[in-house]
């Protein structure tokens, strides 16, 4: 994150509607830099967020995110429209993250999830820490969540981020990652359980202080 600190940020544009996106796709098929620039505007924040959480090194995350868009621009003629543009971009991002992890000798691990209790009741989180309606987290809880996401395996992390952060459907995620829908759901369940365990530990510790 230090690479981004203290530097003027770009305001990520609002998401594109279907018609606008389709028009931009046609421009990009003709290798229009202007058209592709608008796609970058719409997706750069989301792709960077995904890549940064998939790959903890901020410098590498910035480079990988650039590579995502360069690859997308170069390979746009290969985008046949069978999947959505979002699915296609995140597929590229996921593959690059996995490739980078392999080169860094960071093999993905599958950790066994063990419940702290059998209850399926939600955790009690104070209002000042989290406003679900406004989607606001206090800094400490945010840090705990980020560390919880970072501590799970790559396979669980990618599904959690694509579903809960990017709000992609199970079918989209299955297409992007090349796995069955059942596997997507299993991994999502495990990822949330892992995160719950992590947050619950923090909440218990903080209440004990």
């Amino acid at each position: 994150m230090s690479a981004l600190a203290g530097v003027t940020r770009l305001q990520t544009n609002s998401r594109l509607d279907t018609a606008s996106e389709q028009a931009l796709i046609e421009q990009c098929r003709r290798r229009s830099l202007e058209g592709f620039g608008k796609i970058v505007d719409a997706y750069q924040g989301r792709v960077l967020g995904f890549v940064r959480r998939m790959h903890s090194n901020p410098e590498d995350a910035l480079d990988i995110t650039q590579e995502v868009f360069v690859r997308a621009f170069q390979g746009f003629s290969g985008f046949d429209g069978r999947s959505s543009l979002r699915t296609w971009l995140f597929r590229i991002a996921h593959n690059l993250c996995v490739d980078h992890s392999r080169r860094s000798s960071r093999a993905p691990e599958m950790s066994r999830i063990e419940a702290q209790n059998d209850s399926d009741e939600p955790l009690e989180i104070a209002d000042y820490r989290w406003s679900p309606e406004k989607r606001l987290l206090d800094a400490e809880l945010r840090s705990v969540l980020e560390s919880g996401v970072a501590s799970m395996s790559e396979k669980l992390r990618s599904v959690l981020l694509l579903h809960d952060r990017e709000e992609m459907a199970y079918e989209e995620i299955a297409g992007a990652l090349g796995i069955p829908i059942g596997t997507v759901k299993s991994r999502l369940f495990l990822a949330r359980a892992h995160l719950q365990s992590h947050v619950e530990s923090y909440l218990k510790e903080s209440s004990a202080r």
Binding site: F36, I113, D120, D164, F189, A193, L195
Partner: protein, 150 residues
């Protein structure tokens, strides 16, 4: 503490849907959704733009294309014009080389014809006329011939 596994691989998709719909699961989903978006810097975006420009196909400006085509067309036109200029002179010189041969043939033919006439006249001259050499060299009358043209 119960350490029983949460995940059973034999469960079907409907069971998974029910599990994912639990309150605690949905709460974790909401928490993740609340994580802030990343905002790239201007410097990062500028660097990306440079990389994209380098990856873009080279497009020649229309004026450049027109200039190249125009130059090629002008060169071709000049070549055709020069060929047109040179071609008649080549033809003329070719014709001039041929003319003396034609004239020579005409003069030779005239000489032959003149001699034959002379012989014929001698053969058919009236009796008694004996053409005797007068002591002068007998030679055909060249007066009708343009000796100078030979």
């Amino acid at each position: 503490m119960n350490r029983e596994p949460i995940y059973d691989p034999d469960r079907d998709e409907r069971t998974l849907d029910a599990m994912l719909n639990r309150a605690d699961q949905r709460q974790m989903g909401e928490l993740v959704r609340s994580l802030p978006e990343e905002e790239p810097s201007l410097a990062w975006r500028s660097a990306l733009n440079e990389r994209l420009r380098a990856a873009a196909p080279v497009r020649r400006p229309r004026a450049w294309i027109i200039g190249r085509l125009g130059g090629a067309a002008a060169g071709l036109a000049c070549a055709i014009f020069l060929a047109w200029l040179v071609a008649p002179k080549v033809q003329e010189s070719t014709q001039q080389r041929r003319q003396p041969l034609v004239e020579a043939q005409s003069t030779g033919d005239l000489l032959v014809a003149a001699y034959q006439d002379m012989v014929t006249t001698a053969e058919f001259s009236p009796a008694g006329d004996v053409l005797e050499p007068t002591g002068e060299d007998f030679s055909p009358s060249w007066s009708d011939l343009d000796i100078g043209s030979l």
